[in-house]
């Protein structure tokens, strides 16, 4: 059956599996587990990594994972297709500062592309087509007066975007940390921070569960939300520990780790920014009808 | 003696792959239980085809083959075949001994009995030494003798042999001829023996069936009225033997020239 139960053992702790992506965004949950925030709520959390939402969302729907992490647009797409998901916690948000965000569009140092508007008509690499990165780039280009419909998006993995930019196969690429620091370290130049440019408080990713699970285990979800909130707060105020915990689940070079920009980890979901993303998704034709944000968001 | 094999109006036309070959037009003959019948005929006459139909390996296009009272549609039990393509009929993945033993195993014989029979058969064809070799390590004649050993070790009630001695030397051939006659006497097996060697057909058989050219019919069924006790020197030098062999030779020559017992064609 879909949306299974949480396994509660005799001593009252509930074993949970959370599907995450091994990137900087989910550092708070690793930190929270380490700090015992989940333990003290009676949750025994196991973190399982996957490459993206394609693997995590079905896992959560079927109950293989009780919670998962995904980018906001993917969640909106799922919700608009009628997938019964429920956001339980904020995940990661833009820093809101141009030039100091954790995700941005980069070009070669000597590229003629200087502003977001210059991206129009160019080849731009993103890690997934028709998703958060394309809608936000479209938005910033549109805001800068360019015509985003002329952009030719190409899908490449984050690790390959810098290489493709360097080789000249694409004119620009959207990358997130740590690739942003690596790329700029290799001489690339940031053109625009697409998340910050869309909304200073843009909620880029969130933690979610399935409606069924929530209905059956409202207490567990509440505890998870609470522990997450603590973890997010803790991460926001302990940048050094965040950088340190990355060693537990990533292989980021120490030099890069030190220099990279950390995202913001607000503990509450910024509903307005989710609405913005939803509007953008509709505008760019990713979805045909607005999802019911009331049902999706907590 | 009862009729064991009744071939009635057998016809076989090969079709397919852009060719249509009427190999056998109309073959009718009977063989009694325990007879040793030799079949001779021009190359390409349809001897192999006939044998394959009798063995139930090939469906006829007309007529029937009745063996032991039942129509042959698949290989009947208690039959052994020595194929003209002896080399290809041996299992290359098995040793010589295993090749001989395998049908025995399928017959349900125990290990000891199998080994004994296989050894005896290999001895009889002079291949005891090569029992542990693989077929492809043997000369052509040796391969052919393995196929013969396999057939005789099986102790069949019907034995079909398609030019089984074509690749062995004269002396071995004589020995094997005597072996076949000895086994035939001992076991009462019915033997159908295709050969190109006219002397051999006369020496071995109780009857020699001479086939016509393709499309094939029986040209003549020559009874061999030589005494049952035959030996290589005596029999072959007898006057009757010479008569018979020259008669068969003439028939073959006629067959090659296209002579047919009746006006050909429908």
């Amino acid at each position: 059956g879909e949306g299974g139960d949480a396994a509660t053992s005799s001593d009252g702790t509930t074993a949970l599996k959370v599907g995450v992506i091994p990137i900087v965004d989910v550092a708070p949950i690793y930190l929270g587990v380490k700090q015992g925030f989940f333990k003290s709520e009676g949750l025994d959390v196991t973190l399982e990594t996957a490459q993206g939402g394609a693997a995590i969302v079905p896992g959560v729907v079927s109950g293989q994972f009780q919670f998962g992490f995904s980018n906001t647009t993917s969640l909106l797409l799922a919700a608009s297709q009628g997938l019964p998901l429920k956001v339980v916690s904020a995940g990661v948000a833009s820093t809101g500062e141009q030039g100091k965000d954790f995700g941005a569009v980069v070009v070669k140092k000597d590229s003629p592309i200087k502003t977001a508007a210059d991206l129009a008509g160019k080849r731009v690499a993103v890690n997934t087509l028709k998703n958060i990165n394309t809608t936000t780039i479209n938005k910033v280009v549109r805001d800068a007066g360019g015509d985003p419909s002329t952009i030719k998006y190409v899908e490449l993995g984050f690790p390959d975007i810098a290489a493709a930019v360097a080789k000249g196969d694409v004119d620009a690429g959207q990358v997130v940390e740590p690739f942003l620091t690596i790329a700029t370290g290799q001489g690339d130049r940031q053109v625009v921070a697409n998340y910050a440019g869309t909304d200073p408080d843009l909620m880029v990713g969130m933690y979610f569960t399935s409606q069924q699970f929530l209905a059956k285990n409202p207490e567990v979800a509440k505890k998870f939300t609470a522990a997450m909130a603590k973890s997010l707060d803790y991460a926001s105020s302990h940048g050094d520990e965040v950088r340190a915990v990355l060693n537990d689940y990533t292989k980021i070079d120490p030099e890069v780790q030190k220099n990279m920009v950390l995202p913001k980890w607000p503990s509450a979901v910024d509903k307005d920014s989710v609405q913005v993303l939803s509007d953008l998704a509709l505008k760019d034709g990713l979805i045909t009808k607005q999802p019911d944000l009331g049902t999706l968001l907590p | 003696m009862s009729v064991i094999l009744d071939v009635d109006g057998l016809a076989k036309t090969y079709t397919g792959h852009g060719r249509e070959v009427e190999a056998i037009r109309d073959l009718t003959f009977r063989i009694h239980k325990g007879e040793l019948v030799c079949i001779v005929g021009p190359s390409g006459a349809g001897k192999t085809t006939l044998l394959r139909c009798v063995a139930g390996l090939l469906g006829a296009s007309g007529g029937t083959v009745v063996l032991d009272g039942s129509t042959v549609t698949q290989p009947p039990p208690g039959m052994a075949v020595v194929f003209q393509e002896y080399g290809r009929s041996l299992f290359p993945w098995l040793t010589v001994r295993k090749n001989v033993e395998l049908p025995l195993r399928e017959k349900g014989l125990g290990r000891a009995e199998r080994t004994a029979k296989a050894d005896a058969a290999l001895d009889a064809v002079g291949l005891r030494d090569s029992a542990d070799a693989h077929p492809w390590q043997l000369s052509g004649g040796m391969q052919q003798r393995v196929a013969i050993a396999r057939a005789i070790a099986y102790e069949p009630s019907v034995l079909l042999m398609d030019e089984p001695f074509a690749a062995v030397d004269a002396q071995t051939r004589a020995d094997l001829e005597d072996l076949v006659r000895r086994l035939w006497h001992q076991l009462g097996v019915t033997v159908l023996f295709v050969t190109h060697d006219i002397d051999e057909s006369v020496y071995l058989g109780q009857r020699v069936l001479v086939l016509s050219n393709r499309p094939t019919v029986v040209l003549e069924d020559v009874p061999i009225d030589l005494p049952d006790e035959r030996d290589q020197l005596g029999t072959r030098s007898s006057a009757r033997f010479a008569e018979l062999r020259s008669h068969v030779y003439e028939l073959i020559q006629q067959a090659k020239k296209g002579h047919r017992p009746e006006p050909a064609g429908v």
Binding site: L129, K130, K152, V154, E155, A163, D169 | Y14, H17, L58
Partner: protein, 255 residues
């Protein structure tokens, strides 16, 4: 008539089973077959055929043919020379074991990230293995007597290759080519997960990521249908090219 029946019987049964088993499915990822069938025409309209399916098939065709030529060519060389085989084998086995998702970026480094080249190379590189391996084995298991015949009549290099080695190995080359066909379809999809924005594979993955599950299923079904169509085409060619082999193998079965 009978052949049509036997060809269609099992698929018909399976489709019916799927249809009824899924009729009342509420599972998001296993939609009723009816929903999928209804989604088919609206998903695969002229535009996706023109811009997704056909370019993908074109890349597949090019990559496959390259693999066929390279696999058979290399296979004949490697199969004929023990030394060459021993030198090449470890490296080839290494390449063979590397999963396309990690290999593709390396290919892209050389062949570019966005164009057709790297995708075609990916397809060819995946398809080549079954052809190569089977060709090598086919060449190695060529009848010695045939080999000797060719040599004793002083058949030249080219003639031996063309008339003896290739022909003799052709049943096994066909085995490999058949294998490669479906691998090619798979790699056509995988290659489009990388550096593409259109294509059948890219479309399927985008449906999947966008949670357009019935549409994703239509894509999977389309892939299957393409597989069937290609294999029918393949069989047509094989039927002609290997008529001798079928004859040889059936000769004694009373054709």
């Amino acid at each position: 008539m009978k052949r049509v029946l036997t060809t269609l019987a099992l698929p018909a049964v399976l489709v019916a089973a799927w249809w009824f088993a899924s009729a009342h499915s509420t599972s998001f990822f296993w939609p009723p077959l009816r929903t999928i069938v209804e989604a088919f025409p609206e998903t695969w309209t002229a535009d996706p055929w023109l811009h997704d399916v056909l370019p993908s098939l074109a890349r597949l065709a090019i990559g496959y043919l390259i693999a066929l030529a390279a696999g058979a060519g290399l296979g004949v060389a490697i199969g004929s020379s023990r030394t060459l085989r021993e030198i090449c084998e470890p490296v080839l086995e290494f390449l063979r074991a590397v999963p396309p998702p990690v290999l593709i970026p390396v290919i892209a480094l050389f062949a570019g990230y966005t164009g057709w080249t790297s995708k075609i190379i990916t397809i060819a590189l995946g398809c080549v293995w079954p052809i190569l391996l089977n060709t090598i084995e086919g060449v190695r298991s060529l009848d010695e007597v045939l080999r000797d015949t060719a040599r004793s009549y002083g058949l030249g290099r080219v003639a031996t290759l063309w008339h003896v080695v290739l022909r003799g190995a052709s049943p096994r080359i066909a085995t490999g080519a058949r294998q490669a066909l479906s691998i090619g379809v798979i790699l056509m999809v995988i290659s489009e997960l990388f550096g593409a924005n259109r294509g059948l594979g890219a479309a399927i993955v985008q449906f999947q990521r966008g949670f357009a599950i019935p549409q994703m299923w239509t894509g999977i079904i389309l892939l299957g249908l393409i597989g069937v169509a290609l294999s029918a085409l393949f069989r047509l060619v094989e039927h002609r090219a290997l008529a001798w082999y079928r004859g040889l193998r059936q000769a004694e079965r009373g054709a």
